[in-house]
């Protein structure tokens, strides 16, 4: 086992006092921001990005890995205790978790989520070790045309599948691509979209975009909206599980892991869909279906495991292909680039030590999280007593400092403010943020591959379609793009053959309208799930989830969490 020894080498690199300290710091910060609604791991990594410029690359990656995993843990604490998911991936946890807390089983809910997260995180990280090198082996043989196609899948996936409406997703993607275009053309040296400003000639720094959109935009948005009555404290003891709880939890943990990892690994997978699927699965398979809705431990164990497994899965495309599938991964990618490391299939060959050390640090961070979170859950809950103005002042301070630190130009501060307002406006109008950041980061890469493919064939468009991988990718893109059309056609055909007397009224409302927007409030696209569950089942689950998310958002226009960007409102209209 080549990889195993490489991984052991990674462990040897990580276990130095300084590195362990950074891992510990990462998980503590990550948990803290996960606990606080409105501050997600993506925002935190964005804020810390400029500060870590002074650190060696390994240390900042260890730190970011810790924040990434920690954020997943922390979110569940708030979901369970307050019914206010700290980030959108733990919306589902709130369904059963908060009910458990209300019936005095908060300690058990926290314990099953912490242990489940640990198990899922560990298995998920092991799967990274197994899967990632294989993906690299495959990816290394790919040329520019194939990469072009894969990036296109990532674009279309994040824009069309996540979020409620395709139009909004693609609008956000286009904004991101435009931001990525600003600067000097790398082939001809022409200035693009610089408006004659020398400051813009050197491209917009991704850090400024990330900090502006995530930190400033989110802080403005939450400060403007999240004003609500304080909640009463739910007392928590030390988390523990009885034998019966263990018996009911271990299968959901494993099933959740199995669901979460693949969804994290595909572009545009995210954690929202697998947590939902896990919840539905557990409810179907449970021996205590009557407890669902009243605080069933399976409903906490499964989604929590899925959540963390998908976080681990995200690392596969990130390390093997250089593709981010969620917002935090996107910013970690930006961090890698800022160190002059080119992410992509060559990363493992060029920087094997770095990659294996990062993976080893994920194992260690995961262990730290278990040790930290089991005894400290009540302490984390105390963070919620910090007055919000302090938080936002802190965020804006760090954001401005970070943006200024990039180049030491006051111009970047204006840019930051402008991007912050853009981020605020996007949230206001329900545009998902993830496509924007993916567009900004991958846009230049996309352009490079496009140019290279065209240069290969002397400008002939046939150079864009090379090999079966590209064919498959373009096929996926076409299916995703045409899906709403096909779905509508099928409905029209169904309606034609079905009895139109009774159903006319409901069909006029259109399943596409209200139903999809209900789904949009929590993330996954209804069309994607439609085939797998009968409608009533799906509606019930999403209704439950919506109630949960309404609990935390003062109004339902709130895209539920900082970094994920996947959620967006569409109560007013839907894509059709």
């Amino acid at each position: 086992m080549d990889n195993a020894s490489a991984l052991l080498g990674g462990f040897a690199d990580v276990i130095t006092p300084m590195n362990l300290l950074f891992a510990l710091l990462g998980v503590i910060v990550g948990t803290a921001v996960g606990v606080l609604p409105g501050i997600g791991p993506a925002m935190t990594v964005a804020l810390l990005l400029p500060i870590t410029y002074g650190l060696p690359v390994e240390k900042s990656l260890i730190l970011f890995g810790g924040i990434f995993y920690g954020g997943m843990y922390g979110g569940s604490t708030t979901s369970i205790l307050l019914n206010t998911p700290g980030e959108s991936a733990s919306v589902v946890t709130a369904l059963e978790g908060n009910k458990m807390a209300k019936t005095g089983r908060a300690a058990q809910a926290l314990a099953t989520s912490a242990i489940g997260s640990f198990i899922a995180g560990t298995i998920g990280t092991m799967l990274i070790v197994l899967v990632m090198p294989q993906v690299v082996k495959f990816a290394i043989s790919l040329g520019s045309p194939e990469f072009l196609a894969i990036i296109l899948v990532a674009f279309v996936g994040t824009a069309a599948i996540l979020g409620s409406s395709r139009v909004r997703g693609f609008a956000a993607l286009l904004i991101g691509l435009s931001l990525g275009l600003v600067g000097t053309d790398f082939v001809t040296g022409q200035q693009r979209l610089t408006f004659g400003s020398p400051f813009l000639a050197d491209n917009i720094d991704v850090v400024v975009v990330a900090v502006g959109i995530f930190a400033v935009g989110e802080a403005l948005w939450v400060a403007a909206h999240l004003r609500r009555r304080a909640a009463t404290v739910i007392p928590v003891g030390r988390p523990w599980l009885s034998k019966a709880d263990w018996g009911r939890s271990w299968k959901p943990w494993l099933r959740g892991t199995a669901l979460g990892f693949p969804f994290g690994a595909i572009p545009a997978g995210g954690a929202e869909i697998p947590t939902f699927l896990s919840y539905l699965t557990e409810r179907k398979l449970s021996k205590h279906p009557e407890e669902f809705g009243k605080g069933a431990i399976e409903g906490v164990a499964g989604p929590e495991a899925a959540n963390n497994a998908s976080a681990a899965g995200t690392m596969v495309p990130l390390l093997a292909l250089g593709l981010p599938t969620n917002a935090t991964a996107a910013i970690i990618l930006a961090a890698l680039m800022s160190y002059g490391i080119e992410p992509g299939p060559l990363l493992l060959t060029k920087e094997p030590d770095l990659v294996w050390m990062l993976i080893a640090s994920l194992f260690i961070g995961n262990f730290f999280l278990l040790v930290l979170n089991l005894p400290l859950a009540p302490t984390w809950a105390k963070l919620l007593r910090i007055p919000r103005p302090y938080l936002y002042a802190g965020i804006l301070f760090f954001a401005s400092m970070g943006a200024y630190a990039v180049q030491g130009q006051p111009f970047d501060l204006y840019l930051l403010l402008a991007l912050g307002l853009l981020g605020f406006a996007m949230r206001r109008f329900g545009l998902p943020v993830l496509p924007l950041i993916v567009g900004t980061i991958l846009g230049p890469l996309f352009e490079r591959h496009l140019r290279r493919s065209l240069q290969g064939t002397g400008g002939d468009a046939s150079g864009l379609i090379g090999g079966p991988v590209a064919w498959v990718c373009y096929g996926v893109v076409v299916v995703v793009l045409l899906w709403p059309l096909v779905a509508r056609l099928r409905r029209v055909l169904d309606r034609g053959t079905g009895d139109d007397g009774g159903r006319g009224g409901s069909a006029a409302g259109g399943p596409d309208g209200p139903q999809d927007s209900a789904v949009g409030a929590t993330g996954p696209d209804g069309a994607q799930l439609a085939g797998r569950f009968d409608d009533a089942e799906r509606d019930r689950a999403f209704d439950d989830a919506e109630r949960a998310s309404v609990g935390w958002a003062s109004d339902r226009d709130t895209p539920s969490a900082a970094g994920r960007g996947a959620t967006c409102p569409s109560r007013k209209d839907s894509e059709s």
Partner: protein, 132 residues
């Protein structure tokens, strides 16, 4: 005229409430129990749960005292809110709980009790946990 009690769901809060009941008997005035929770935090330890306030109302009424229980949910400053209510309701005395604060804690968070003592226009009765 009323006796105003600043209530928090702790042992000190209970002591304050007991002192308030005594005071309102002595003066034969109505008792007004106020619980304040700030609206700029997600969780406020001083917020009394709904059933807690019901219990207070029930218990005090059982003791034969005419009582009104109010919860204030707007604003960020309990001291300010309490002083304002005292003026609006023309309170004859304000009963609050007093506890030890570390100098650092006072420096950072300020002392709500101190501001009530200084700002209230009526007499203030400060109750300590172990004496009540």
């Amino acid at each position: 005229m009323t006796v105003l009690v600043g209530y928090v769901p702790t042992a000190l809060g209970e002591a304050t409430l007991r002192a308030g009941v005594e005071e309102s008997r002595r003066r034969s005035e109505r008792l007004l129990v106020v619980n304040m929770s700030r609206d700029d935090v997600l969780v406020d330890a001083h917020r009394a749960a709904g059933d807690d306030l019901e219990r207070v109302e029930r218990d005090v009424t059982e003791l034969g005292v005419d009582v009104e229980v109010v919860r204030i949910e707007q604003g960020t400053d309990p001291a300010d809110a309490l002083v304002r209510v005292a003026e609006e309701r023309d309170a004859s005395v304000v009963v609050i709980g007093l506890r030890h604060r570390t100098p650092v804690g006072k420096l950072i968070m300020g002392s709500a009790a101190q501001r009530i003592l200084l700002d209230a226009r009526c007499p203030v009765l400060a109750v300590k946990e172990h004496t009540a």
